[in-house]
Subunit: 213 residues, 8 copies
């Protein structure tokens, strides 16, 4: 059984017409087409009405700015559970991008947002739940000072994937540096705002576990 | 079954006397004591002769600058296979630090060094072997331009952990940036020269798989 | 025989009226006028209608944002073949700027786009063709991680000219650094997004070969 | 009543002879002479034997690299209690420099070291004690990722003074950035390794409280 | 008696509808709701008309872009006097944000603006007045070269809180660096433009003094 | 006819024993072995005496820190003329490394040193000579402000290869930036101090010309 | 006789109404009011019509974005000659700001634009003229690579004031670095785009000479 | 009358033998030879004993690390008065290098050291004296925060030349940035630690005044 990462279309720099065309084409080829950073979800939906898509379901996440076409009847094989934490409310779009990516790869996602250092008392309960639910890794999204992934890593024994974000004011490289210099072993990171990359990486870990069974 | 990362002692900034004392103390408590970045392996060996260590085996890797005390009879549980690649010969010490860390956590390590972009034809065979041997993740160590992890990630479907190194001349932050900006999903990184962090992260992935069986 | 670089007009910071005037003036003096980074191709075309240009042909590349006036009957002397590769689709405008520049200097250009590290299997065929066609150098355009020029350099024996681009998200200086720190000898670079500079440099190499015959 | 910061002599760039002379001269003028960053404590002690110092007590802190001469009988007025926390053992010299500075200004210092994010369970007890002892502010010293001051600030209601340190490997500016971008209000910082500045600032707060009584 | 920092709502990234809702909710819970970085004061005022707020007073500072709802009859306890200085006229919004924050915590604020290094003769009189009025600390806001906090610190014996600002042209990190490298002890800083953080920190100092009486 | 870049051994990080062994081994295989950045030329010479090298000639350049073994009777095919300029006397070692590399590839080198901007009147004569001698490209080595390559490029019609150097005091990245931002088309650069890379690139240009005859 | 720099009003961040009011007020007090970085010259002119300004002349430079009110009959004392050079056409606005500033201080200005390194043959004639006309200093404005000030300094014996500009693409700090690292003594610089600062500094030199007569 | 800058020999990177030879040669040609950054003054003196120098006087400044040979009877023409200020004692070597350079060009120098922001009350008297003595410009040397030049510029009407220094700990680029961003017009700067450049620039101003008489 081979479980890779579905080819994702990076919507940011594409016009809606091209984007729609690429999606339909991929969906027909692979059963699934998955676009991220879609700048105008509504416009894309409208554009897709020009195509004959009655054999496809739409899966849209406005916060994550993701958009998927999935062949009716196509079943995404379940590969394992992961956790996703976000420090502040502005980190949520990146966290949701990670969630959508992991789910389209077959993961079950347990999530908890707004649990950053400034309100650290809110962290412990959802974290405990994730461990009890036996997640195989945790994605931790944080901007500003970016200290949450390091704290989480020191509290749990599963691999933690840090995602620095560019939210808030100040020097954008700060949370990257904080996470790279973490003293708690068990943390690896992806680039700033790269929820897709984090979700894909987590999906691969889950997939490894699934394959080895 | 609980499989975390063994407490590691960072030798870089400690004098030999203190280092030896901490190691003996930890070894007695945990069966295993593991020190990294030991500045003078021979001096440490000599200093340890002052202690009664007949119940312990030494495990020393001069290239990695690691040093472990392991209680005789203590068995490290096997938790899974990982791969380690290094781009240039100067990246080997960091790769070996990762290897020692992963092995002490119970991993079996398949390694191949000097397979960087400049001699890319040497890469394909060992990479194929790793996949056939079913490694659950691959650590890729590279300095200078740091492009190897990205290439490897585009060729395989297991999670890749990039380790930028500070070898060679030039701007030390280069391989960090290259790896963070990789276009191939499936790559996460640790800090520059952090072989220990990469080994520990890989060990946790292997451990997750092992636990889920 | 003297073959230099045609004086190019940098359109970015010029208003259309001035730009048109300078172009007509240069075209009359030199037979050729070549503008890059034209912000509004249509506006320029319209503005030029005010001039009597029946003795001139227009050569327009919308993707490259270049615009040339060429005296009817003026023949650009052919000076040699070069190759141009682009890593991602967003690198194409810079690659096309290089192409236009090289062609206006008399080069024949063989090009192949979307052959970056993330889809590296698409690289080998077009690269082989370039070598068989005996190009005298290859321009390689890449953004994000910027690793493609280094890989190409390790595979071929012609001089490679790297062009870092500012496409995508993240730290814009990354591909400059990656290319400067390449371990494969045979690579030199121009500034970020400087397709014109790369095309001119490649044109000079081709011109040298042409002159020495 | 006027309570400022005692003039401190920066020992780092002074030779021992000059340093000794300046200290004796200041001690005679002000009853107290306080030197920081003394490079060779023993050499300074020896050099001071050449002077007639029977009316002075020495106050030496080898870890902090501070050295004070205090007139016998001179009483430093007590001005209030402060707390000092250090994340790792390598942060201790900076923490001790802060402690010496605050004490020479009349503060009582409650300290607790090695309570960083990687071993965060060790933090809560000493922090609780500081609050119960009614400290008027807390100095938090941390290197590497520098996340501890932010966490402490989110847990207490007294002003927190962050001191980034340059210990460990990696990008030295990281803990400065982490602390500046903290989301927890109630934190201000001094420059990297500036234990003296933090101690002096804390001393001024304590002194304000003392004066207003 | 417990005096912390009132929960502040960061308005920058919130839409007016959500902002209004959060404010009303907080105001009812805590008697006070305090929003900073409100992008459109008028729109917020209008939106709030939809709610029944007859038991609340509005407190609006257009320059500071702050907006507070305060329960009628609720009395903010007075906790002490602080000073605020601003170097240039463009630093005033940040200074006013600090002022509003400190006042809502119960501080009395003495302020003086446009007293920077370029017109340094205007500094001495207001500074003298602050000292005579017995402020417990001084906030100094400055952009561009950012040298004012350092000068003020060398002239007074109260703690000084520097706030670098991003006003003017040039390298935005300059005033942060200038303030961190000040040679005058008694200065600590918050992040660029963080008037809220400075006001909160000053409020905590005042609160400490108030509590110890 | 195939003319690539001879495999070069990077001596900087190798001990003399290993270096000697690799050289002898390569020399026997390829007729030529070429080492750069040799830290101790004399020690290497001495170490090589242990081998039977009577069939080899030594080619040593102390300034360039290069060392070559060339089989007696082996003839390096002549491939073309290049020019090398150095701005200051401290740039000479890098210029000489470029020269050695180009010569071992078969180039004839015309060189002129100490002709930088500060003594710009010394530049014109040697530059004129290079053009008259029909060099196919010019390597220009410069540190500090790094402005010479740009000036040379504006004066000649052959491709110019800029080599920034790390000589002198100040910000080491300056000449890289200056060269990348040159307004004169016809310039490409290699990394700081990379004389080897520049020589190899120039050699490839010469080789292209040679092959096309 | 005392000749300082006239108080300049920085127009960038002021609204037109405030700007007009400040100008009228200053003009009445000092005979001269001088505003730089005026964002909308026409709007300012219109706004000033609301005031009774029949005793004042307007002096407007649209390129420089400067605007002055000068009392009729007020004579600006002549203080000496200076030169101004600009490398590219995009540097002209900054050069003109310098010119206006110097002229309002009483300087006679000899100027020559578009004489940068890429067209260096155009430099020598105007430079010679400046020297023959006995200018007391030369302002040299340059962006991109910023190499012109260094070249000019190596050719003349009067003080040269470099002004880096932010024109063109690329790393904005480049011309600052190039100028600071110049090897030609006799060069000092002001901040990026600071034509006002350069003009004022040149005016002070001219004024010194004038005063010493 | 022509008064340029005497050719200076940069001693830092030269061995004593070469340095001595160049100095003797220059001294014989120009009557004066002037070396800066001499690493070993005594060794140079000793080496020079090998030459016949009875017609020359030595002028040595150990603090400045400058060394001059001056033909007996050669008279340096007096060209004017300048002022030099240094903020801290560690800035003195740079200030002295400026002084030696200015004096060898014929300036009379009035100097005052240790008058930085942290002890700002010491500044006013020597500054007043310089103005009364009619200096034609003032060099201000400062490290750390680098705020002194800006303050001095706001207090006087002569041109000020700022020299950032690398003394103290912290981010070395800080005083460069502070000085470039000064709000006080009348300040220009040279590179970090470039006392020679500042002295030469001041000498040129003095020389201009002298020539215009
Ligand atoms: N949100 C995202 N963040 C980072 N990379 C992405 C994202 N979405 C897609 N990609 C990658 O972008 C590439 C597709 O780019 P394109 O061909 O322009 O659609 C693939 O390599 C994807 O793995
Ligand atoms: N002006 C401000 N500058 C910096 N932080 C602020 C500001 N206003 C509010 N905050 C912080 O932002 C957080 C509230 O963010 P939010 O939950 O998005 O409203 C709290 O931690 C506040 O302490
Ligand atoms: N002086 C040099 N500068 C940069 N790269 C070099 C230099 N000398 C050799 N190399 C490259 O270094 C690699 C050989 O490294 P090594 O295997 O460590 O000897 C080859 O890719 C060479 O092309
Ligand atoms: N174009 C300019 N560039 C830099 N500084 C300027 C400029 N114009 C005016 N200034 C300075 O800005 C200050 C006036 O600012 P303001 O009070 O906001 O008008 C004075 O110190 C001037 O010296
Ligand atoms: Mg963990
Ligand atoms: Mg992969
Ligand atoms: Mg090649
Ligand atoms: Mg708190
Ligand atoms: Mg003070
Ligand atoms: Mg040219
Ligand atoms: Mg000159
Ligand atoms: Mg002044």
């Amino acid at each position: 059984h081979r479980t890779g990462i579905p080819e994702a279309i990076y919507g940011e720099s594409k016009n809606i017409k091209d984007l729609a065309e690429i999606m339909v084409c991929l969906a027909e080829k692979n059963n699934v087409a998955f676009a991220t950073r879609v700048r105008d979800i509504d416009a894309l939906k409208k554009e897709l009405e020009k195509y004959d898509l009655e054999n496809f379901n739409l899966r849209i996440n406005e916060t994550a700015r993701t958009f998927a076409l999935i062949k009716k009847g196509h079943k995404i094989e379940k590969i394992g559970k992961i956790g996703i934490l976000a420090a502040g409310t502005s980190d949520i779009p990146v966290a949701e991008e990670a969630k959508e990516t992991a789910e389209i790869m077959g993961c079950e996602v347990i999530k908890s947002y707004d649990v950053g250092i400034a309100g650290v008392h809110r962290l412990f309960k959802p974290l405990k739940k994730m461990i009890e639910e036996d997640v195989c890794c945790i994605i931790v999204v944080a901007g500003m000072e970016g200290a949450l992934p390091s704290l989480v890593t020191s509290l749990v024994d599963v691999p933690v994937i840090g995602v620095p974000t560019s939210v808030g004011y100040g020097v954008k490289i700060t949370p990257i540096l904080t996470m790279l210099h973490s003293c708690s072993p068990g943390l690896a990171i992806v680039n700033i705002d790269n929820g897709f990359g984090a979700g894909a990486f987590a999906g691969l870990i889950a997939s490894m576990i699934y394959q080895k069974h």
